[in-house]
């Protein structure tokens, strides 16, 4: 099982390193550049809805990925105010 370290343990700071940030931004940048080079598959060709055609716009997946995840995090944070409870919340129930 878990072993206690010999020296008094000092926790790491829960930060993300600068190198990681650079790598992440580079990855995002490369993914955007690739779209310039590769013709995308056209969605909903037969549909005449404006939203359907918007899905074929440049950077649609960039916006979708970032906005969907940001919204999910913010929504979860907001709902957390309502839905989070102490761990012993159900202790007195069957």
């Amino acid at each position: 099982m878990s072993e206690t370290p010999e020296k008094p343990f000092v926790p790491d700071e829960p930060t993300v390193s600068r190198k990681f940030w650079i790598a992440l931004w580079l990855t995002c940048g490369v993914s955007v550049l690739l779209e310039l080079l590769v013709p995308r598959h056209v969605h909903f060709e037969s549909s005449d809805s404006a939203f359907a055609s918007a899905t074929n716009g440049f950077g649609f997946y960039v916006a979708l990925g970032f906005l969907a995840c940001s919204s999910a995090i913010l929504l979860a944070k907001g709902l957390g105010l309502l839905l989070k409870a102490k761990e012993n919340y159900y202790d007195d129930t069957p």
């Binding site: 099982m1 878990s2 072993e3 206690t4 370290p5 343990f9 926790p11 790491d12 700071e13 829960p14 993300v16 990681f20 992440l24 931004w25 990855t27 995002c28 993914s31 955007v32 690739l34 779209e35 590769v38 013709p39 995308r40 598959h41 969605h43 909903f44 037969s46 549909s47 809805s49 939203f51 359907a52 899905t55 950077g59 997946y61 960039v62 916006a63 979708l64 990925g65 970032f66 969907a68 995840c69 940001s70 999910a72 995090i73 913010l74 979860a76 944070k77 709902l79 957390g80 309502l82 839905l83 989070k84 409870a85 102490k86 761990e87 919340y89 159900y90 007195d92 129930t93 069957p94």
Partner: protein, 610 residues
């Protein structure tokens, strides 16, 4: 091996489980691995068609219906069991080993059942066997969770049974086919509801994150694979193209993400993630085209592999540290690097990262939503794809293996665990790079009618070179999801809390209902006791006794006064009369006189009437 052609594969595992009960621990564990392998082999030997038709209560059962769909599910069920039994070599519990084998066997029973009675019996056997995998944790929490789990499943089972009986009554057939299941409207919705409870569809979903994280390490792996995927299989059989399933599936995908983001317990995060993933499959069944169904089968196959892998990595962490909360874990990459790498492969596969199995299966379902012009469903599935990366792809490995080093220095997972995880991690990457073996076992009837060459393009170059644009868009979606995760990381700080889910209604709600019922009904009971039992009824009794005595005394008073004018004597006679009325003891002469008087009156009345 011709015998294996005509034995239901589930029966091999169930009978084997009984035999293994007699063996010592090591032989039992080796036997379980061998049984899973034998089951896989037996399925590979089965020929398409129906066989084994015993009669029960006048109904001709079909114990073995073999086609591409049942074989695909059979393969993955036994393959997962094989890896899970290797992983669980540390587990010596006789009950757990048996329960797991019976659970897998009964799931195979459902998959190969050709009639509704066999389906239902195996369905309920699954519920019972799986409950033991939660109970085996032997904690107070697991005991209560198992109690709630079996109650939910028995309720779902009864709803399903009601639907099956209605369907049999309406059609006169017990065949487990879409036509029989959906012919009668009421039967259809009962059956659908019974299945959706097992599929953990919202709002009948909370039993899953309630019970699975309370199971044993071994139990969690098995539970993650069978109940919900068997439900998906029955949806494929009974309700392909049922459009109601599209919004239900979409809601499941989003619900799973939000709750997984809220959760602190690593196994509960994975439990919510199951609901999210099953949502994709339910949606695919709702779309219902040949390609969509093929996509659902493919996704169920890949999902079982990477989800079991994720539960294994979480199980290895739990085994080594005894902890499962993100607030107590972190920094484990330092001493459990192999578990971290294997778990991360599972996390990447569930996120559909290119070159992993999720990419070659989930994208089929999303593509069919687009092909069939389900614009909003397509958008929700794309959003959910991003969300999967957020909660399962990054959150799970980040908070367990990285984040804050909390000073935990556990050993690396034991070798059998690493072998079990390694096998599944290999499959995640192998199928992602070379999906032909997977596509080859998908339902042929569906493949033959493919509108596009989607599944024909099974080579690496066809998927990753010819359709490089799809790789780029997936790459963008995932990269910017990761960016959002790290930008908003401070908002994702874990707290030692739980999340209130729909089970609140039967946990807290039931308690309140009990309190209300207790106060109202027992209050009513107490009031009835006080005013009716203790006041009104004695008063009525007294009245019933005293009133005739008083009337009689009034009638006799002139006679008594004539016999004895003394007031004291009158009072004494009156008291004696009341006492006689009260005890019901009259001298025989009195009774005879009364009878005589009544008879005389009757005769008189009779004559008057004449």
């Amino acid at each position: 091996m011709t015998l294996l052609n005509s034995i239901p594969p589930g029966l091999i595992l169930i009978l084997g489980a009984i035999v293994l009960l007699l063996l010592p621990a090591t032989a039992r564990k080796a036997g379980a691995i061998a049984l899973a392998a034998l089951g896989f082999y037996a399925i590979s030997q089965l020929e398409d068609g129906e066989q084994l038709f015993p009669t029960l209560l006048g109904f001709k059962l079909t114990l073995l219906r073999v086609d591409a769909t049942s074989k695909a599910f059979g393969y993955i069920f036994t393959l997962c069991a094989f890896a899970a039994f290797i992983f669980s070599w540390h587990e010596k519990s006789r009950a757990e080993n048996t329960a797991a084998l019976v659970y897998v066997g009964s799931a195979l029973g459902v998959v190969f059942a050709g009639d509704m009675i066999t389906w239902y019996v195996c369905w309920e056997l699954m519920a019972i066997a799986s409950t033991f995998l939660v109970l085996a944790r032997k904690t107070e929490k697991s005991l209560k969770a198992a109690q709630r789990y079996i109650l939910v499943h028995l309720t779902g089972g009864l709803i399903l049974l009601a639907g099956i009986l209605l369907a049999i009554q309406a059609t006169g057939s017990i065949a487990f086919t879409s036509e029989v299941l959906t012919q009668n409207e009421m039967a259809k919705y009962f059956i659908l509801l019974g299945i959706l409870i097992n599929a953990a569809a919202v709002p009948f979903s909370s039993w899953l994150p309630d019970a699975y994280p309370e199971s044993t390490i071994m139990g969690g792996i098995f539970l993650s694979a069978y109940t919900t995927k068997t439900a998906v299989y029955t949806l494929i059989r009974g309700f392909p193209g049922e459009e109601l399933l599209i919004p239900i599936g979409c809601v499941m995908t989003l619900y799973g993400i939000i709750y997984a983001l809220l959760e602190n317990d690593m196994r509960r995060i994975l439990a919510y993630s199951i609901i999210n993933q099953v949502g994709f499959m339910v949606c695919g069944v709702g779309i219902g085209t040949n390609l969509a169904i093929a996509g659902v089968v493919a996704h169920a196959f890949c999902h079982i592999i990477y989800k079991a892998l994720l539960w294994m990595s979480a199980g290895a962490v739990l085994y080594r540290t005894g902890k499962s909360k993100c607030t107590e874990l972190g920094g484990l990459y330092k001493t459990m690097p192999i578990t971290m790498i294997l778990g991360t492969i599972g996390a990447l596969a569930i996120s559909s990262v290119p070159f992993t199995s999720g990419f070659v299966s989930k994208t089929i379902i999303v593509a069919t939503a687009e092909q069939n012009n389900y614009l909003w469903a397509w958008l929700v599935l794309e959003i959910a794809s991003a969300g999967v990366f957020l909660h399962a792809g990054i959150k799970f490995p980040y908070f367990v293996f990285f984040n804050v080093d909390r000073g935990l220095r556990p050993k690396e997972a034991p070798k059998p665990m690493l072998i079990g995880m390694g096998l599944l991690a290999f499959l995640c990457i192998y199928l992602g790079c070379h999906p032909a073996p997977l596509y080859d076992i998908l339902p042929l009837v569906h493949r033959s009618a493919l509108p596009e060459a989607t599944l024909e393009s099974t080579t690496f170059s066809a998927i990753y070179v010819d359709h490089f644009a799809n790789v780029v868009t997936m790459f963008q979606l995932l990269a910017f999801s990761a960016l959002a995760f790290f930008v908003f990381l401070p908002l994702l700080k874990r707290t030692p809390t739980i999340s209130i889910d729909f089970d609140w209604f039967y946990r807290k709600g039931a308690k309140w209902f009990f309190w209300t019922a207790d106060k109202s009904l027992n209050g009513l009971n107490a009031a009835a006791d006080k005013y009716v039992i203790k006041t009104l009824l004695p008063a009525l009794t007294r009245f019933a006794l005293v009133a005739p005595a008083t009337l009689t005394a009034m009638a006799l008073k002139p006679v008594w006064r004539a016999m004895d004018p003394d007031e004291a004597g009158l009072a004494k006679r009156r008291d004696e009369l009341v006492a006689k009325f009260t005890t019901g003891t009259f001298p025989i002469a009195y009774s005879a006189a009364c009878v005589l008087i009544i008879l005389s009156l009757l005769v008189l009345i009779g004559r008057t009437a004449d």
